[in-house]
Symmetry: D2
Subunit: 256 residues, 4 copies
């Protein structure tokens, strides 16, 4: 039987502000990426979210981002390699303490937003992020864009790597995602999404936006829980994959 991890972002609320359907999306995933207080989340939200994930038996990852709450970590910031490293250690450490306080174990780290995008194409930045993860705990799994500069840097650092794929996004020939600004970047037909994911899982390949078959490794699929449509999509995707005898389990399980 083939297995896949399903991951989603969680704990992105802040103070009195609520974002996401945290309780609902937990039904469809095996791993969560919890915001660490820089681009979203605050200590109270983090504690509550960690507790919730542990109660539901979902594996937990840290989701560090740029120090930019006003921009939700989605705006590039020209920080140095050295700053990026320190920001990672800080955020991972904070989340790790909550997880361990509740008797859990942190599974992975996945950079957030603009930091994720930058590290997908900038090896020096990606290497700094990976080394930060390694220095905090070399057992942590580094989750990043499948077959990207980021996952390469993590592997070079000696970390276990989880390749993340997107069910509803088009890919360029070099394995990067087609920019949301371009037509065809987002795939709206659930059937097509399922076929693409199955191809990634079973055959390790996907068709690029130019029609070329490209190789891609799929360890985890990114799930969104922002609205009811996203939740419906997640439910359908999971159901269809199950029908094709794909099992679901967190990244932890891959290593044993």
């Amino acid at each position: 039987m083939l297995y896949i991890d399903l991951n989603c972002d969680l704990g992105e609320s802040f103070g009195k502000y609520t974002i996401g359907n945290d309780e609902k999306v937990l039904k469809y995933v095996t791993s969560v990426n919890i915001a660490c207080g820089f681009h979203a989340g605050d200590p109270v939200i983090m504690e509550r979210t960690v507790k919730l994930a542990i109660e539901k038996g979902i594996a937990i990852g840290a989701h560090p981002g740029y120090p930019d709450l006003m921009g939700f970590g989605r705006r590039n910031m020209d920080i140095s390699i050295h700053e990026a490293r320190s920001y990672m250690i800080y955020q991972i450490g904070a989340l790790k303490a909550f997880v361990e306080s509740y008797g859990g174990k942190l599974q992975h780290v996945k950079p957030h937003g603009a930091l994720y995008n930058m590290a997908s194409v900038d090896y020096a930045l990606a290497k700094a992020l990976a080394e930060a993860v390694y220095d905090v705990d070399r057992e942590l799994i580094f989750m990043g864009l499948a077959n990207s500069t980021m996952t390469k840097a993590a592997k070079d650092t000696g970390l276990n790597v989880a390749h993340e794929v997107f069910a509803d996004r088009a890919y360029n020939d070099d394995g990067t995602l087609v920019s949301r600004k371009l037509e065809g970047a987002v795939i709206h037909d659930t059937e097509v999404c399922v076929r693409r994911v199955l191809s990634m899982i079973k055959e390790g390949k996907v068709t690029s936006i130019d029609g070329t078959d490209i190789q891609i490794k799929a360890d985890s699929i990114c799930i969104h829980g922002d609205n009811s449509m996203a939740l419906e999509f997640a439910k359908n995707l999971k159901k269809k994959l199950s029908e094709q005898y794909i099992g679901f389990r967190p990244l932890f399980a891959f290593k044993s």
Copy 2:
């Protein structure tokens, strides 16, 4: 031979802003309390400060405070017990990750500023802080005002406790510090300070501002490094204590 720990606050700079003489004051202490990014400090400063302390062989503690950089954590904030707990775990976790990244081990936690003052008189708050420390790592030592509500709460929680005393501050009959707003709160004569500290270490008592002998346990003396006068005071105090056969060692050593 009798021993005492000497502690000081460290890593209180922020971004381009510098506070303190971190390199200089390290000569006179055996433990440091490093700011965790809420009232002072940022990830880059924290990493640099942790590295420096480890290189010099000084024991490291976390120094969590209120989320109030503008007020340097010195203004009371009416946060809930629950918020206080989460803020502690977050900050301790962040600092712990830096310490462990450099192969060190976090020794203690000492609340900062207004949070320290509040917890010295509010048992419920102090208990929440102590439980947060315990839940992150029960091996951590809780440093607080000697013989206060705060150290009592930490002991009740099952933590090892370090009683902190002040060489240059007057005490009330109940063991609390005389408010800086009152006359006689600060003692300026180094000789008097030394005599008081010796009495605390050797006899476990000190004379209150009202002339009463009160019992006090002294595990660590608070040292300041803000300016050249404070550094001079630290140097003198250390020299005079040495002449009286008092040895200096970090809190770690007390437990073995």
Copy 3:
């Protein structure tokens, strides 16, 4: 004909975070209090909200609060009188610039949350807030709790004052609001609320929680737009007041 102003808080969103039904609640009010970036709101939200209010012809007030986004300005902070003054000028100035950029004129200032509550009972603080308003622009109206220390301080400063009343809150004999922690603090029966408001507007009095008739001046009623129930209440209140020949107009109109 008798007139009353209806005010509500607006522009409390932040970055990607949304709070409130700003577009909907605007139908029921004549004045809005717009958050200024300290406890809620950010520059982009402020500009959008100011623009919206001006388009709808609603009078605009600044709603300055404590610098505590994480606590939404609802936690007391032990700031000095001097700090309170500077925080006020900063926030009022920022909002005033948006209003004037769109050709509008700032009508009033109403302190937010814990700052409002503190100033309602602390004359020195209230005086500092009022003087800040006066120094920015003495034409500004100061809106505060009816018959409180805050409105008294504003009047003493030489400002025009708007007395704010609450339709659904019980009053103590001294004119302060009954704490939400106590039973009977919130009145749920719309009919009762309407009768109380009519009494305040027409007779200048209201019955306290202890059954005493107390004097109260009503220039503006606080309206909430958090949820559909609050919107329904606002709609009903406005309808019933209209039936009693009460007219609605912003504070500006009171002065002419």
Copy 4:
């Protein structure tokens, strides 16, 4: 007689953190650019600094920057044109309120740090900044890099423009500053600096790093007050310019 304005950055301290020699550098300048709380400064610092400048009779400008205290506004942030506009209005408004509270009048606006650098080469961004200034108060002078995209955009918007030059920096052929990362970017010989400034003021030209004479308009010279060497340089520069019958006066004076 020829006149020039001498400007420096002021009010960059934050809370308990101090940067700059604000009192000392005021002796050498006719205009100051005061930080507005985003990259540096806080409301208390702003009020104190505005008061000081008004007492000394120095003209005041707003110095808005990126919302990045941790990076002191020196890191590029990929904010939108729309966000840039709102950030400008907010910061200018806040500072303007302090100036007017003390009976003064805001003279100019000069973008800070990375925002200044970005706007010097990005017309769309510069236009958004200039329009924000214009919409707040069209009487405000826009200060920017001499002969740059930024000053062009400000002029196109209908604002009065002050061209800023640097005494100790080398210029490229296109009038931009030579990057500090390149050799020869900073000129250390005071005599050379004075000769260059005189040429800019008297002849409207300066020799580029490649030896070409380029045209440059000089309305204001940027003065630094970070350290004693900078202060000494400012003193010398001012003395030597005086000997060449150059007078000093704020930008206000240019317009009458």
